[in-house]
Symmetry: C2
Subunit: 153 residues, 2 copies
Amino acid sequence: MPVEALYLEDFKVGQTFRAGALRMDAEAITRFAAEFDPQPFHLDPAAAEASFFGGLVASGWHTAAATMRLLVGGGLPVAGGVIGAGGDEIRWPRPVRPDDTLSVETEILEVRPSRSNPKVGLLKVRMRTLNQNDEEVQVAVANILAPTRNAGG
Amino acid sequence: MPVEALYLEDFKVGQTFRAGALRMDAEAITRFAAEFDPQPFHLDPAAAEASFFGGLVASGWHTAAATMRLLVGGGLPVAGGVIGAGGDEIRWPRPVRPDDTLSVETEILEVRPSRSNPKVGLLKVRMRTLNQNDEEVQVAVANILAPTRNAGG
């Protein structure tokens, strides 16, 4: 069922959304790493065994990109799309390992109309990315643009 | 010339590094978006014209991933690899557009030995990702693990 697209006025502090699931297999982990983060613990299971992580793990930026996929897929149903103005925080409390299945849980922390532009406002959103055991693999707080209902859309 | 890998003791506040260049062409932008951020302004030049951005732009997470590639390629020459403990801030002041060429400039803001673990410390690093006109397309502040020389490596 498609999620209804929401405008600034529709968001309330404390509101939550959830979307999933996205499986991160070893092929996807090493393919992302080969292009963007070519370090042994993201590329080579044997080398990863001997590393800080004790086994193959996804690049944190792969986890971030996968989280974006989940946000666009219903984790943050903003009318017109999910456009980030930036983030206040991003942490990776636990690595993502092969065959972990991720979901995202978002919570609206603030809803701020713009003083200068009546067509748009900002949402401050906490995004918790969880594995199949509901353990946090990424926590981020981001500022997201949201159009108002009178934006002319 | 390969950059020498540095240990915690080698880093000083104010030290800077620079690495580049990485070209972001339309094919790479739309391929990343199709997998991780399938929104019209990242996927379709015609739809992007009518969007907030006025043309095709890279996903911010693509810019972040490309920045990681530059960090691993000499932008932050930490012995044992670039392992992030998280970030305090990430912003995208300007979008990346097709055929922009990115480089990264890092500056060491803090060098903190661990109180509990003599083998590792933390660097706080500002990372400015720049386009070919030296305009900021991403600014992030991250905490990066760095091994000490007595880590037994």
